[in-house]
Amino acid sequence: MDSLSFDLAATPLRDLNRFLHKEAVAQGVRQVTVLHPDGAHNIAVGLNAPVAVEIEGHAGYYAAGMLKLGEVTIHGNAGTGVAENMMSGKVHVKGFASVSAGASAHGGLLVVDGDTSLRCGISLKGGDIVVGGSVGSFSGFMAQAGRMVICGNAGDALGDSLYEAVIYVRGRIKSLGADARIEEMTESDYQAVGELLAAAGFSYDPHEFKRVASAKSLYHWNADANQEY
């Protein structure tokens, strides 16, 4: 058996997640299709098996959160916290993603074809995020490592209090957050953007992107700053 489908209109979500956690590998299942997700929370959370999960509709909160192995594709929109704390693997949202997409992801790739809401990539810890549309305010807040590629525009306070993560933006940036600045693109930046766009399936020219990174002025306490941050 290579593939299996779960209809959430008839089967409890717990059965799907139990199958993905405990039985998929033993049964040699490589692909699972989820029908009628209808906004259910926690679909394919904690997936740690080399399985491709196709969610045929809109997912609720925390879909594919903590993903370690496997690929999850959402053929619809995703709710709060899609791919939150992802470790590796790939999550692809074909519609839009709500707040906190890819929050604190340590590794892996999150692709969102549409827009994301606020706080995309907040506290990113090493994963890659490619957004085909625009991101909402406070995206990349306190992102520590990893890369974000934004093909559309960014909202307010982009990259506020960034650490070592780098954000590439093709469109307009409404405002930069504290300590974030626009820097020159280098050859390695063009290469990184090109690779990430290719992995996500977008064909934009990397030369259209600008680099946002930390000015690192927040790295050390400055007693004379007088609330300037």
Partner: protein, 297 residues
Amino acid sequence: MCGIVGLLVKTPALRARLGEMLVPMMVGMTERGPDSAGLAVFSAPLANGYKYSLYSSTASFDWEGLAQQMFAHLRVPAQCEGHGNHALLVTGLAPAAVRQWLRENFPALHVLSCGRAIDLYKDIGTPGEVAQRYDFASLHGSHAVGHTRMATESAVTPDRAHPFTAGEDFCLVHNGSLSNPYGLRRKLETEGIHFETDNDTEAACRFLEWRMREGDVLETAIQKGFEELDGFYTFLIGTENKLALVRDPFACKPAIVAETGDYVAIASEFRSLAHLPDVKNARIYEPNPEEMYVWTA
């Protein structure tokens, strides 16, 4: 948490199905708000007089007797149809006089809403229980605003359930919490505005209705709300012919909209929209923070 739901039907034929479409939306938000639920429905306005949604905390209230007493005291015809704790009173007397008469003669009764188009129900219990208790599925109208409550801000009682109302044909439901409700109350109380509960949402409701009574159109009142109301909120507001949706500048509380040629449906989460007819072809989007979304019935 808390769940909010709203539905405005564009196609007149769907008005008879408003309640039937809305009940699964409310039940879908049970996990977000299991302690109380409420619903305001707007239907074709009365040509004459006003209607009042009344709530009695005693189960066996003599609603017909209330109408008879009203006629005996005030010589104004009144009809009062009761369904358990809830009743709909219809009379031609002006709202201020009716409210005063009710306060003096039936101080334990709550006036849940007043207007020409609005009917309102709210009570404690799960959304499913409350919907069944008042037969929400049979309600019809052009638009409706519903709420399922998980109390964070004040006690679990019927009068602290949402929707809140102020004035006539105006209601508001809220997911979130305000940080300056007491400042707003003090300000509004100096304008002679009376509060019925200690709930933070009541402050937002009375503030916006006060702005409209002072001459603002709904959109201007909401804009002033952005300036004055501090905290986290997704608000859904109903008036005689409008439904409005707004979120705070940080969009801390969720909302999602599904729009088709037949209806606009709003809920805290997509789960509550999934059953709607033709939702697969709906335009589905998440409203932006501090942006006004207003639909006309």
